[in-house]
C-alpha cells in the first residue's frame, strides 16, 4: 500500500476524557495506527486498563465510550475523535461498583478478584451495565460480562459484587 492510498484522518482530533476536553495532533501525539488502548495507557498514563490479548478476546482493556462498554484495543485512537471516554481513573473513589468489587468476601463465593489484572475491565463493563440497567438479573449480569475473562476464576465473587453494586446504587437513591 502506498502512502497516498492510506485513508485520510483529521490532523487534529478532540475527545472528552474523564470529563476533560482534550485535543491531540495526529503525527505528534499519536499515529493513525495507534490503538486507543495503547494511546490511553502510554500517552495519557491511564494504566488501569490492561493490554492483555490486544485482539478483543479478554475484556481487560474495557472503557466506557458514550455510555457503552467498549474494548479499547479494538479501536484506533483516531476513531475516538468527537467521543466521550471514561476510563477507570475517571470513576470517583466511592464508586459503588469499585467498592463492591473491593469489598466482596461473602462466604461461599470467594473474593471478586485475586491477581486483579482483569478487574478494571470487569468494573467498567459492570459500570456500563448498571448505568443502563440498575437492577439486572443474574443472567443479565452473566450476559453483560461474558466478554471479560478472569483467569483466576473469580466469576462467583464477581457476580456477587455486581449484585452488591446494584444494591448500593439503589441505597444511594439510584445515583450511579
Amino acid at each position: 500500500m502506498t502512502a497516498h492510498s492510506l485513508p485520510t484522518f483529521p490532523q487534529r482530533i478532540a475527545m472528552r476524557i474523564n470529563g476533560e476536553d482534550r485535543e491531540f495532533e495526529v503525527g505528534r501525539d499519536l499515529l493513525p495506527t495507534t490503538t486507543l488502548s495503547a494511546f490511553l495507557r502510554e500517552r495519557l498514563g491511564c494504566t488501569g486498563l490492561k493490554i492483555s490479548c490486544d485482539e478483543g478476546a479478554c475484556g481487560a482493556c474495557t472503557i466506557i465510550m458514550d455510555g457503552k462498554a467498549v474494548l479499547s484495543c479494538m479501536l484506533l485512537a483516531v476513531e475516538a475523535d468527537g467521543h466521550d471516554l471514561l476510563t477507570i481513573e475517571g470513576l470517583p473513589d466511592d464508586d459503588p461498583v469499585i467498592e463492591a468489587f473491593a469489598e466482596q468476601c461473602e462466604p461461599g463465593h470467594g473474593t471478586a478478584l485475586q491477581c486483579g489484572y482483569c478487574t478494571p475491565g470487569f468494573v467498567m463493563t459492570a459500570r456500563a451495565l448498571l448505568d443502563e440497567n440498575p437492577t439486572p438479573t443474574l443472567d443479565e449480569v452473566k450476559e453483560a460480562l461474558s466478554g471479560n475473562l478472569c483467569r483466576c476464576g473469580c466469576y462467583a465473587g464477581i457476580a456477587m459484587a455486581v449484585g452488591h453494586a446494584a444494591e448500593k446504587i439503589a441505597e444511594r437513591g439510584g445515583r450511579a
Binding site: 495506527t33 495507557r41 502510554e42 498514563g45 494504566t47 488501569g48 486498563l49 490492561k50 493490554i51 492483555s52 490479548c53 490486544d54 485482539e55 478483543g56 478476546a57 479478554c58 481487560a60 477507570i88 481513573e89 470513576l91 473513589d93 469499585i98 467498592e99 468489587f101 473491593a102 469489598e103 466482596q104 468476601c105 461473602e106 462466604p107 461461599g108 463465593h109 470467594g110 473474593t111 471478586a112 478478584l113 485475586q114 491477581c115 486483579g116 489484572y117 482483569c118 478487574t119 478494571p120 468494573v123 475473562l149 483467569r151 483466576c152 476464576g153 473469580c154 466469576y155 462467583a156 465473587g157
Partner: protein
C-alpha cells in the same frame, strides 16, 4: 456452601472472612503491575525489544542478513547469535528449580537437560526464540525490523507426538541431551523405572483380579492475563531488572550466573503479577538475558514484552498413562504399575518434575499402604510448545489415571469406589483408614448426594431421551503442610514496629493473586496481638526488591499462605523481648518481671501503654528480622477430593457439569475468603482445561493453529 468456615481454635484475625488487603487498589485499577510502570515516563530513552521466532517446527538458521533491518529508522541495537557476548553464553534450562529454593547454574535441578541456547541458531518448535533480537524506539519498529531480516532457514524434519518420536530412526531433536528423544536418567528424577517397591509381578500373581487401563491428557496452557515483561537498565556496571517474575531472588541468581555478574551487581524488582499458574517454570528465561545484553549494548533501558501469541510459551505436559492394578476380591490392592509417556515438547525444562518427581511423592504418601508399586516414565521431546509447571505440577495427569483406576477396579469388584479408596490409600506413617482421606470422601459423598445419584455404568436413567448423568470423584494428597516445605530452606520475614503502634511488614513474596499478602498481614496481626495491633495498622511491603537483602518466598504449593506467618510468630517473640529490654530500665523493673499484654507494659505496680512509653524515648523504630527453616515435624498428609455430577448427551457427546463439590482438608485456614477464592478459581480453571481448552497443531506444517484466547 451451606455454612461459613469456623476456625477450630478461636483467633482474632487468622481464618476470617474479609476483603483482601490489596482489593481497593486492584478494584481502582491503581495496583502497579510491571507493564504499567515500564514506560517512557519512568525510563527515559526506553527502547523496545522483539525477538525472532522461528516459523517452522524445526529449523536451523543458515544465514542472517540484517542490512535492511539495521537501516530502518528507529532501530537502535541488534543482537545476533554471532555476537561474542551471545555465543559464549552457556547452554541452559528454563527450570533451574521448582522455585522453593534458589539454585546456582551448577546445582540447577535439571542439570542434565540443558537444551536451551540463548538466541541460538537452532529452533525446535514454531515459536522458538532464535537468532536475533532487535531493540528499537517502538515495539512496532522492532517488529517491522525483524520482518526485514533476511533469514535463510534450513527446514528439518519434525515430530508432533511422543510415540513417533520414540521410534527407531526418528529425527533426534536434542542429540546432546537425548540420543533417542527420550530424556536419560538424571539425579533428581531417577531412572526410567523411578520407583519399584516390593515385587509387582508377584503382587499381580497373588491378585484375584488384574485390570489395565489408559488415559491421555492434553497440554493446556496457563493463560495468565499479564503477559511476561521486563525492563533491563544498566547504571555503569550494575544491572537492574524490573519484571513480573514471581521469583525475584532466583531471577537475580539466574541473571548473575548466566551473565557472569557478581550478585550485588544485579538488582531484581517485582511487584504485583497478573496471574502465574506455573508459567515459564521459575522464569529462568533467556529473554532476561538478551534484554540485558541489548540494554548494555545500546546504553539505554530496554523493555521486552510478550504479545498474547508469544505468551503461549509453555504448557502442562501432555501425558499418556497406562496402569495395571491387581487386587483381592475384598478390594485390597496387591500391586500397582504406572507407566507414562510424556510429551515434553521442544525443551525439557521442568518436565521430569511432573512425570517422575511428583508421582514419586504421591507414591510415598497416598500409595504407602500398597505393598508392590512400580512407576516408570519416559519424557519425550517433540517439536511442540515446551511443557513446564502448571497449577498442581504433574498431579492432573496422574490423578486422571488414578481416578480411572479406582473406578475401573471398583466396577470390576462390584465395590463402591469410595470404600475402595478408603481401604487402600493413606500415608506412610499413618494407619488405614486415613482420617483425612476418609473425611474428605465421606463429606464429599454427602454433599454431592452420592447415595442417591451413584449408579453402575450404563444403569442410570435416561434424561430427555439420550442424556445420561453420573457422579464421580478425584482424590489427591495435598501439598500444604509445613513439613512438606522442608526444601525451601530459610524463610524470612521482618517487622518494624513504630512508636505510634503501627507496623511495616516486609515478608517478601511476589503477590500473584493467591492472597498470601493478606494471609501475612493477618498472621502478623495475630502474632502481634499482645501489642494491640490490628490488620489496618500494618503496611505490607508490596515491592520485592533484592536490594533489601532478604530472600522472597515464592508462591508455589499455596504454602506462602502460612510459611511466612510461621516465621512471624518467632518475630513476635523476639520483638516482645526487645521491647521489654527497652522498657525495663525506663520503668525501673527487672526485665524478667515485665510483660506486654494488649498494648500495655505490665509489671507488679506498673501498667503503662507501649505507645506512651516509646513516644517518650528516641522514637527509633524497633525492627526484628527472622530467618527460619520450616518445621519438619510430620503432621500428616492432607487430602483433597473433587466430586462432580455431569450430564452427557450420548448422541452429541455434549458434556455439562451439573454440580461440583470441592472438599479440601486445608488445615488451619489463614484467610477464609482467599481460601474459598482459590478453591473455586482452581476448579474454574480445571473445568476449562477438561472441557474447552486445547492447543491444536497443524499436522502437515507442524505449527500451532490457536495460540490466542478466541479459538
Amino acid at each position: 456452601m451451606s455454612a461459613p468456615y469456623q476456625p477450630r481454635v478461636p483467633r482474632r484475625f487468622v481464618g476470617s472472612y474479609r476483603p483482601r488487603i490489596d482489593a481497593v487498589e486492584k478494584a481502582h485499577g491503581s495496583a502497579p503491575y510491571a507493564d504499567d510502570e515500564i514506560a517512557e515516563r519512568n525510563y527515559p530513552g526506553l527502547l523496545h525489544a522483539r525477538v525472532l521466532r522461528c516459523p517452522y517446527p524445526r529449523a536451523r538458521i543458515k544465514h542472517l542478513d540484517t542490512t535492511k533491518a539495521e537501516a530502518l529508522p528507529g532501530v537502535r541495537c541488534l543482537l545476533t547469535y554471532r555476537d561474542p557476548e551471545v555465543a559464549r553464553l552457556k547452554p541452559t534450562n528454563a527450570g533451574w528449580t521448582d522455585a522453593v529454593d534458589t539454585v546456582s547454574y551448577d546445582n540447577m535441578m535439571w542439570r542434565k537437560f540443558r537444551d536451551r541456547r540463548v538466541l541460538g541458531d537452532y529452533a525446535t518448535w514454531a515459536g522458538d526464540e532464535v537468532g536475533i533480537a532487535i531493540a528499537a524506539d517502538t515495539e512496532q519498529i522492532a517488529e517491522q525490523a525483524l520482518r526485514m531480516v533476511e533469514v535463510e532457514w534450513e527446514q528439518l524434519p519434525f515430530l508432533l507426538d511422543p510415540i513417533s518420536a520414540m521410534q527407531p530412526g526418528a529425527p533426534v531433536i536434542h542429540p546432546e541431551v537425548a540420543e533417542h528423544n527420550v530424556l536419560p536418567p538424571d539425579p533428581i528424577g531417577g531412572p526410567d523405572v523411578f520407583l519399584n517397591r516390593g515385587d509387582v509381578e508377584q503382587g499381580f500373581a497373588g491378585a484375584d483380579v488384574v485390570i489395565e487401563m489408559d488415559t491421555s491428557h492434553h497440554n493446556p496452557t496457563q493463560g495468565s492475563l499479564d503477559p511476561w515483561c521486563c525492563v533491563a537498565k544498566w547504571d555503569d556496571d550494575r544491572l537492574t531488572v524490573f519484571s513480573n517474575s514471581y521469583s525475584a531472588d532466583q531471577t537475580r541468581m539466574h541473571i548473575s550466573q548466566m551473565l557472569d555478574l557478581p550478585i550485588h551487581k544485579v538488582r531484581v524488582i517485582s511487584k504485583y503479577v497478573g496471574g502465574q499458574f506455573g508459567r515459564c517454570d521459575t522464569g529462568d528465561q533467556p529473554f532476561f538475558l538478551f534484554t540485558a545484553l541489548l540494554a548494555r549494548k545500546s546504553g539505554r533501558p530496554v523493555k521486552f514484552k510478550h504479545t498474547r501469541r508469544d505468551s503461549f510459551h509453555d504448557t502442562r505436559q501432555g501425558a499418556l498413562y497406562h496402569c495395571k492394578v491387581g487386587a483381592k476380591t475384598d478390594g485390597a490392592i496387591t500391586a500397582l504399575h504406572f507407566k507414562s509417556i510424556g510429551d515434553i515438547g521442544a525443551h525439557a525444562d521442568h518436565s521430569v518434575f511432573a512425570l517422575k518427581f511428583a508421582p514419586a511423592e504421591i507414591a510415598e504418601v497416598a500409595l504407602a499402604p500398597i505393598p508392590n508399586v512400580k512407576m516408570e516414565s519416559y519424557a519425550v521431546y517433540t517439536n511442540r510448545i515446551p511443557s513446564c509447571m502448571m497449577r498442581g505440577v504433574g498431579n492432573s495427569q496422574f490423578n486422571f489415571i488414578f481416578g480411572r483406576m479406582i473406578d475401573g477396579l471398583a466396577e470390576r469388584l462390584d465395590m463402591d469406589p469410595i470404600e475402595l479408596a478408603i481401604k487402600n490409600f493413606g500415608h506412610e506413617w499413618g494407619s488405614c483408614p486415613d482420617q483425612s482421606l476418609t473425611a474428605v470422601l465421606e463429606t464429599g459423598a454427602e454433599r454431592i448426594g452420592w447415595a442417591d445419584k451413584r449408579h453402575k455404568p450404563g444403569q442410570g436413567p435416561l434424561y430427555e431421551g439420550a442424556k445420561r448423568r453420573g457422579v464421580g470423584f478425584s482424590v489427591h494428597p495435598g501439598w500444604h503442610a509445613e513439613w512438606q516445605e522442608e526444601r525451601r530452606g530459610q524463610v524470612q520475614a521482618k517487622v518494624t514496629f513504630y512508636p505510634d503502634g503501627t507496623v511495616t511488614l516486609d515478608a517478601p513474596t511476589v503477590e500473584t493473586g493467591t492472597g498470601s499478602n493478606t494471609c501475612n498481614v493477618l498472621g502478623c496481626a495475630e502474632a502481634l496481638a499482645f501489642l494491640g495491633v490490628h490488620p489496618q495498622d500494618i503496611t505490607w511491603v508490596s515491592t520485592v526488591d533484592t536490594d533489601n537483602g532478604m530472600r522472597d518466598c515464592v508462591q508455589t504449593d499455596s504454602a506462602v499462605s502460612f510459611l511466612q506467618s510461621e516465621v512471624l510468630a518467632v518475630v513476635a517473640e523476639q520483638l516482645k523481648q526487645k521491647l521489654v529490654d527497652l522498657a525495663a530500665p525506663v520503668l525501673g523493673v527487672p526485665a524478667d518481671q515485665l510483660s506486654i499484654q494488649n498494648g500495655q507494659f505490665v509489671a507488679p505496680g506498673h501498667s503503662v501503654s507501649v505507645k506512651d512509653l516509646l513516644w517518650q524515648g528516641d522514637l527509633v523504630p524497633v525492627s526484628v528480622m527472622v530467618s527460619r527453616r520450616p518445621s519438619t515435624q510430620r503432621t500428616g498428609v492432607p487430602y483433597i477430593a473433587s466430586f462432580a455430577e455431569v450430564e452427557v448427551d450420548t448422541e452429541t457427546g455434549r458434556t455439562q457439569v451439573l454440580k461440583i463439590v470441592i472438599i479440601n482438608d486445608c488445615g488451619t485456614v489463614m484467610y477464609a475468603s482467599g481460601a474459598e477464592a482459590q478453591q473455586v478459581g482452581g476448579q474454574v480453571m480445571a473445568l476449562g482445561e477438561a472441557l474447552t481448552e486445547e492447543l491444536i497443531y497443524d499436522p502437515v506444517r507442524g505449527v500451532p493453529l490457536n495460540f490466542n484466547l478466541i479459538d
